[in-house]
Symmetry: C2
Subunit: 151 residues, 2 copies
Amino acid sequence: MTGMDTVEWLSRHEQSVWRSLLRAQSRIESELDRDLHKGSGLSLVEYGILVSLSEAEGERMRMRHLADSVIVSKSRLTHQITRLERMGHVRREPCTDDRRGYWAVLTAEGRAALDAAAPGHVAKVRERVFDRLTPEQVTVLGEIMAALEEP
Amino acid sequence: MTGMDTVEWLSRHEQSVWRSLLRAQSRIESELDRDLHKGSGLSLVEYGILVSLSEAEGERMRMRHLADSVIVSKSRLTHQITRLERMGHVRREPCTDDRRGYWAVLTAEGRAALDAAAPGHVAKVRERVFDRLTPEQVTVLGEIMAALEEP
DNA sequence: GGAATGTTGTTGAATCTTCAACCGTTCTCG
DNA sequence: CGAGAACGGTTGAAGATTCAACAACATTCC
């Protein structure tokens, strides 16, 4: 089916690392998401979108670029931005120089929601991740994740 | 609101590590999920469930324990098992010694589906993760994830 | 025994995500 | 120029997830 005759299985050690990784990933994400949502009504993805917008020139981004930046499909971003628009955090503006495109623009309310959510969220990230690691581990983690994040 | 006066923000370096981590996480998960699904019709969570069952005594687990083991809510597991049951990969059996409970039992078809899916999936994990890291990095990653996975 | 309390697991509705099809615009290139 | 390919974004329906409420059984403790 796959064209492979033999499979190189994971070693015992690799397997245990891999499973730790999966559990850690899933715990971190669900805890952060739960707390963020409880504290601010935002999901992690929504928070990420607002962060991206807030750091962009003019607090605005093209849909495509925004989708890439938060690693989400075009379609999902469309729906998500529609919801954020309904919440008043974002507004759509047609793009003048490319008539296919739209800008997603951070509104004042969106900026306020982000500012309100950030402290608690950052505190959780610190507590859930950085407080558990030594500075050396953080450095190595950075190197590892840099290697893993590329396409 | 949170009772905190000042926030300890992330340092520049911590922030960059954190964002790498988020991107790596989301890339790895979505790629593995996509490939697994394409190759076997299973989602990552379904695959995880089948793996857990396959390693359990009698290839069966109580719902509660299974939910904890794959880190998913009871409710989500119920729906998920219903789907897996519909696919023929799992069957439910009432628990004899605790009449509230059910066993989720791996069927022969489920075992076969898992065996068929595993080689390709493992190959992807290797390619997407372990091949990019030195043995030392893998070891440190294991230590880090061990620290991060606990509750 | 039996009332409170805690567990297990399910349900259904609301919400969110995915997937494939689609429309209009821009780009490419003979 | 103009036909076709590629891009940017949306749509709607199907499928998955969450959330709060619930039913059934088990445990505790008087």
